[in-house]
Amino acid sequence: MDIELLLWLPIILLTFASIVRMLTKNKDNQKPWIRIEEIKENE
């Protein structure tokens, strides 16, 4: 195996970690599929 190929390893890992972070970052801000709302009396 070419040792030069090992130089791609950190690049690939960093890219993968960045994509995972981008996909999971804004999960909290998304609207939930099911929302339970409190119903006030005489509403």
Binding site: I3, E4, L7, W8, I11, L14, S18, M22, K25
Partner: protein, 248 residues
């Protein structure tokens, strides 16, 4: 207070007071620096660099142009740093002249180890892409400590190279810089990592410029900073690959 305003950067072109200097007299200016503008100008500068590099790369008889390119590039860099208002002229000149130098250097390495230049180009742009993604995702943040660390490491490398340059006049040098020993390879790998981390500082500089509405000509100046880092990274990757190849 804006987290970018107290910034430190290792790139000599992108100093902490660069924006403060540029902001004087630009208040009320309708056009200000944008990230898109920097991206377009960087693309244009890289295109100019590649075209001029192809001249010295394809024709070895023109390698004398590389010396001219080195001198012109040095002058253009100094003028850009001290007079960023004319960066729209000096940065394309810098890109073309550095292209001539890189074409000749790449050819010398390529003759020794065929395929090395293409490998170095892919690794340089691979590093740029992955670090841009890491910066955009927030995985790598340009915090004050990060900036200080990269600044100190870059300064240390600069001092080491300067000492080596002075020592070369006396027929000697710092062995680890040129050596293909495991220590020499480790040193080159460290320099590549530091050069790559300088890209994060460049991204931070560009983001800050766009955020505070720096004048339009600063787009060319930011392009210059990015070019300096990319050229340094490419040369260091070439050097690392040649060390790895020489051990076969």
């Amino acid at each position: 207070m804006n987290r970018h305003l107290t910034m430190r950067t290792a790139n000599p072109a992108l100093q902490s007071d660069t924006f403060k200097k540029s902001m004087t007299g630009s208040v009320g200016s309708s056009e200000s620096m944008t990230i898109n503008g920097v991206v377009n100008k960087t693309g244009l500068a890289l295109l100019l660099l590649v075209i001029s590099a192809s001249v010295t790369w394809s024709d070895p008889t023109l390698s004398g142009l590389a010396i001219l390119g080195f001198v012109v590039g040095l002058v253009a860099a100094i003028v850009t740093i001290f007079k960023p208002t004319i960066a729209s002229i000096t940065v394309p000149v810098y890109a073309i002249s550095q292209g001539l130098v890189l074409g000749a250097i790449s050819r010398i390495f390529e003759m020794q180890y065929p395929g090395i230049a293409v490998q170095a180009i892919f690794l340089t742009f691979g590093t740029l892409g992955s670090l841009l993604l890491a910066y955009m995702s927030g995985l790598i943040k340009a915090t004050e400590n990060f900036k200080l660390g990269v600044f100190a490491a870059t300064g240390a490398i600069g001092v080491l190279y300067l000492i080596n340059f002075v020592m070369s006049f006396f027929g000697t040098g710092i062995g680890v810089i040129h050596s293909s020993s495991p220590m020499g390879i480790l040193f080159s790998l460290g320099v590549v990592v530091i050069a790559a981390l300088n890209l994060v500082l460049d991204f931070d500089f560009i983001e800050e410029g766009a955020e505070i509405g720096a004048p339009k000509y600063m787009e060319w100046y930011a392009t210059f900073g990015l070019l300096v880092t990319l050229i340094w990274l490419y040369i260091e990757i070439l050097r690392l690959l040649s060390k790895l190849n020489s051990r076969r």
